[in-house]
Amino acid sequence: METEQLIRTLAADNAHRARPVGFVLTCALLAAVPVSVAMFLAGLGVRSDVMTAMHNPFFNLKFVETLALAISAIAVSLHLSRPEASMKGWGWLLLVPLMILAAGIASEMMMPQEVPMMTRLIGSNSRVCLTAIPLMSLPLLAGTLIGLRHGAPTRPAVAGAIAGLLSAGLAATLYASHCTDDSPLFVVTWYTIATALVTAVGALAGSKVLRF
């Protein structure tokens, strides 16, 4: 086909309007969240002492951290869905959850503790944490990748990694309501390892499926 013919054909298709990436990403996540919630309810469920736990600021802080990760990853992934976008000026957004975490650790250090530091860090749920967060992120990661495929990310592995952060953030939000380890030291260790795992899977998947 001559290029001139192709151009004429594309012009004839000009009336077609694609939906914005944000819209498609929202739809894909709305479809994926119920799957992860179902996995959560079937396998874990909310911890039984949730009413008392809600009075513990460190229990509540877990949600601030995981949601901060999810929200900043949503912003960055939408930005990266444009071909000319770079991480410049956007990377700091991903540091926000880490800064909240650091503030949490600092304030826990300043309070008198009955349990030694290492015991708080090791906790009693690390295995569940490392299994549940990655597993519950899988449907969310698939949804995010479907949404981002609608965009034009020119760094597919980076965009995939951010998709991993996003889905790990949402999955960790669910998991946080089950887990009885509330110390920021536990969160910074095990949640971070679980998130890194999902991020690596996201980067790998992204480099395959996000090319356009």
């Binding site: 594309l10 009336a15 309007r17 869905s81």
Partner: protein, 181 residues
Amino acid sequence: MRETEDEWTSLMRLAISGDSAAYHRLLRAVTPVLRAGARRGLARAGQPVDQSEDIVQDILLAVHLKRHTWDTNAPFAPWLFAIARNKLIDALRRRGRRVFVNIDDFAETIPDESAAETASPSEIAAQLQTLPPRQRDVLQSIAVESASIRDTAAKFAMSEGAVRVALHRALTSLTAKLREQ
């Protein structure tokens, strides 16, 4: 260059608001620049430049199918060149070359107004044959026979809406097939 790029931006804004003639003009205006950039990239990778037309067509398809990711408040050229670079890197990679495309391959070229060299039948033409019959008929009618949407609808006893859908699907599946190569 600055002026040309400003003109591209306003043409693309018109195109997005539904002006197909402006869109046609824009695509014709950027093609010589894309062709020159593709040739430069191929030459640098030690590849025959007569393959540049496949890359140009690849870029044009991507521009078309991803134009909703262009922010109408941003200049058009950086967006266009990002897509073009991406497609050039892809094309070189498919030919087994691990080369990094110079960031200025597209931005700093003198438009190549020479006619497209068609040394071999284009990759698009080859993939055309693998499309479902209805999509292929519609695409061929509009691309090769220069028929309008309305004439195409009359010819195949379809509604104009159905022709539009078939045309868009044909372009989407062509792009997918080119990517899978």
